[in-house]
Amino acid sequence: MRAEAEALRPMREQVRSLLLDSGASHDDMERFLLALNEACANIIRHGQDGAGDIAIEIRCSERRIEACLRDRGRPISEETLRPRPPDPERPGGLGNLFMHALLDEVRLVDPGRGYVNGLCLRLNRTREEA
């Protein structure tokens, strides 16, 4: 996707459709979509200086839903990803909090050739609806 805020909604629609096809529960789908949105929004806000793209690879299996994001923005670290406690006086930084609260794993990975950052998101599919 383009690293632009306007690209977030089409991205969500595309991934929603993919997750529906994979049989994801409504709860899993909403959790994963919000977390993925936050990861992409962080890259757009902090990493790209208004240019570039974000490569997103989604993998769905019976047990988990994963996304690997790669971008060419400013380098991020574990420290960058660390959530801080919510503070009504300082509402910024909620994106990291959401990602960590919604997912089972948020980790940096080798970005591969041509990219600066690699981020992997994982949700274990343990919340299936009956």
Partner: protein, 112 residues
């Protein structure tokens, strides 16, 4: 559904009705409209009953509105908070920070 902001002007408060999905692309529009409403000096109610999605940028915008309203000494409420939006407010542990009305106040109806 495309995103829309509708402002309803009452005798004693303004109701800002939002519809659609609130994300990083539309939060600046929400912020601009909120600041304009709060600049009026009247109580402001943000009606979220037609909001189907909100992310952290939308939540942060609402918090900014709340902070500004407090500084100005005007009432700031949310209404029509559906399940999806409430889950996100709870995730941010902000559900108890806002004054939340179950349903939107009719424009022209006095403050509760």
């Amino acid at each position: 559904m495309s995103f829309e902001i509708r402002i309803h002007t009452g005798a004693d408060h303004l109701r800002m009705a939002l519809s659609g999905e609130i994300d990083l692309a539309v939060s600046p529009r929400v912020r601009e409209a909120l600041l304009a409403c709060l600049g009026n000096g009247q109580a402001v109610e943000v009606d979220l009953s037609e909001v189907s999605y909100i992310d952290s940028s939308g939540v942060a915008t609402l918090v900014e509105g709340l902070q500004l309203a407090r500084q100005q000494g005007v009432e700031f409420t949310l209404s029509g908070v559906g399940g999806t939006v409430m889950k996100v407010l709870k995730l941010a542990r902000l559900d108890e920070v806002f004054t939340i009305r179950q349903s939107p106040r009719a424009v022209g109806q006095g403050a509760a």
